[in-house]
């Protein structure tokens, strides 16, 4: 079957296929490269990178829930210099399309990571994480307030020519409002969703199960929430959306495309099945063709109300 899987995104960013490894579930590249050809993925979004190393939250950091996973990693990372020195060369060598997920405690810290990545060979795009629910200061509030989301995005935009996507939180009354703010601030794309704030109780010890008390819920349990956010945001902005949340199959990918995503990210399911992303890429042509589509771009937004379908959203078809 000849099926066009490639995805054209703003600022010349082109993906061979729409399946991207989600940030934080795929490390910095080498870890999964034994199980997956990371160069064959649409792209790899690395674990969030800050200017200086972050320690992260106390363990336990993961807890299972019905069809979901709670995590409170707390954005542990070795800082941008170690990333550029130790991980980026490997990713480059493997031919991965690298999206650097960036985090900071202040607007300035975000801008620092953005300008550090500017001009580093092998960095294809930036993903601005303003939505991690595991950081109480900084990160959390940026994604919860349109004005602050605007400020962070603007600062990153000014610090780099790279394609910039901003990652939205589902934990707000209106993700669409945040999306509009970051679009105005110059974001090229939106990625959505980050995890949903949740909590589990360790009944035996009569306390919250995670070291960080609350955590972020991911996995199939949140798929309907993610699809709703994508569907709403797609009607509120005209920049492309990278959808994610609970994707575990090629059929799930098609749901996200129809809801308005131009590409997708896949996270939690990789823990069960390291090879699942490659399998999804292999099965996508069949799923698209069964749905009556000739390529990825033709499916984007086809479940949106007529007025919002991609003709009017530009760029994808």
């Amino acid at each position: 079957m000849v099926m066009d899987l490639h995805v054209s995104l703003p600022r010349g960013l082109t993906l061979a296929n729409p399946v991207i490894a989600a940030s934080g579930t795929f490390g910095f590249g080498p870890e999964y490269s034994r199980y997956v050809d990371i160069g064959s993925l649409g792209a790899v979004s690395v674990k969030g990178v800050s200017p200086e190393p972050w320690l992260g939250n106390p363990p336990p950091r993961v807890w299972e829930t019905p069809m979901g996973l709670l995590n409170s990693i707390g954005l542990q990372n070795p800082g941008m210099e170690v990333f550029v020195r130790d991980d980026l060369p490997f990713l480059r060598e493997k031919g991965a399309t690298v999206i650097v997920n960036i985090i900071g405690h202040t607007v300035d810290e975000y801008a620092r990571v953005a300008s550090r990545m500017q001009g580093e060979a092998g960095v294809a795009a930036l993903e601005v994480n303003i939505s991690c629910p595991n950081i109480k200061e900084g990160g959390m509030s940026f994604g919860h307030d349109p004005e602050q989301a605007y400020q962070v995005t603007r600062a990153v935009r000014q610090a780099t020519d790279l394609p910039v996507m901003v990652k939205l939180s589902p934990n707000v009354t209106s993700p669409a409002l945040i999306a509009q703010a970051v679009e105005q601030a110059g974001a090229d794309m939106i990625s959505a969703i980050n995890t949903v704030v949740g909590l589990a109780i360790d009944v035996e010890h009569r306390r919250p199960a995670l070291g960080g008390t609350t955590g972020g819920l991911s996995g199939p349990a949140i798929k309907p929430i993610a699809l709703r956010v994508v569907y709403d945001v797609a009607q509120s902005v005209s920049i492309p959306i990278i959808g994610m949340g609970g994707i575990a199959s090629a059929a799930d990918v098609l749901e996200f495309l129809l809801a308005g995503a131009s590409a997708v990210m896949v996270g939690t399911v990789t823990f069960q099945h390291p090879g699942r992303m490659q399998q999804i890429i292999a099965e996508l042509p069949q799923v698209l063709s069964r749905g009556g589509f000739r390529g990825v771009s033709g499916a984007v937004g086809q479940a949106l109300p007529a007025a919002s379908r991609p003709q009017t959203r530009g760029g994808d078809l």
Binding site: F26, R34, R61, E64, I73, G219, Q278
Partner: protein
């Protein structure tokens, strides 16, 4: 999804024997030359119906026959599912994973200290390095959960047993016999695995007296170093840092950790 693909490091292992070794404890023997290359202390990350795989250490590692053992206690849904697997069925496993025990120095005294389901991985170490003939101290809550005593004895090793309730061996924990062993053996090497509070006591008993390698448990996500879920606090060069049980561990030097 149909037609699961397997990759290097991912194993489709057939169960060739299943044995209920004690109440709520099952040992599965798997046929897998790839897994049988494991170092004692490494683990298998096993696909079950849950959202995450389940880490279980190797109780036996037999490179010659290409077989390994997994001995586990049924504590929740994942291990209950595993315990229900039958001979002939297959498990989807990532492994062998993690950093196992460093070989003992044969010129120095060596002791294994295990508690509960921490005993099986020590057996694999004893079998691997049997020429170094360790002393063995194992403990459990109660008699029937003293695991693999016979297996150690079949290696010709002397085994001291403790039970919390005194129903077998000496009443009390493994720490008493360990203290005695440390008094009797200078410059010793201790390999230990068991519940974290027990390991903390072992670490404290060994501090300044013996080199202790401890195999830890922690809740895991990926099992291969990518997600940073499985960390434990360790002594960094200047300050506390987190190390990954799945990658830097499960076996650590007791003194590198913060207890």
């Amino acid at each position: 999804m149909a037609g699961q693909q397997f990759h290097d490091g991912q194993v489709d292992a057939r169960i060739v024997r299943r044995e209920e070794v004690a109440r709520d404890h099952v040992e599965l023997i798997l046929e897998s030359p790839a897994l049988a290359r494991a170092v004692p202390g490494q683990f298998a990350h096993i696909l079950t119906p849950g959202m995450l795989r389940r880490p279980v250490s190797f109780s036996r590692i037999e490179p010659d026959s290409g077989r390994v053992g997994l001995l586990f206690q049924v504590v929740g849904e994942g291990t209950a599912w595993l315990a229900n697997c039958q001979e002939g069925e297959r498990l989807d496993i990532l492994g062998p994973l993690g950093h196992g025990f460093a070989p003992p120095d044969p010129s120095r005294p060596w002791c294994l200290v295990g508690g509960g389901v921490g005993i099986p991985p020590l057996y694999s170490a004893a079998a691997q390095w049997r020429e170094s003939a360790p002393d063995v101290i194992i403990g459990a809550r109660t008699r029937e959960w003293v695991l693999m005593q016979k297996d150690f004895e079949q290696l010709g090793l002397g085994v001291r047993v403790t039970t919390d309730d005194g129903s077998w061996g000496q009443a009390g924990t493994v720490i008493g016999p360990l203290q005695e062993w440390l008094e009797g053996h200078a410059d010793g090497q201790v390999f230990s695995c068991g519940p974290t509070p027990m390991l903390a006591a072992v670490a404290s008993a060994c501090r300044g007296r013996a080199a202790a390698q401890v195999a830890l448990e922690q809740r895991m996500g990926c099992g291969i170093g990518a997600c940073l879920a499985c960390v434990v606090p360790a002594r960094g060069q200047t300050q506390m840092e987190y190390r990954r049980v799945c990658t830097e561990g499960p076996v650590f030097l007791a003194e590198e950790l913060i207890w």
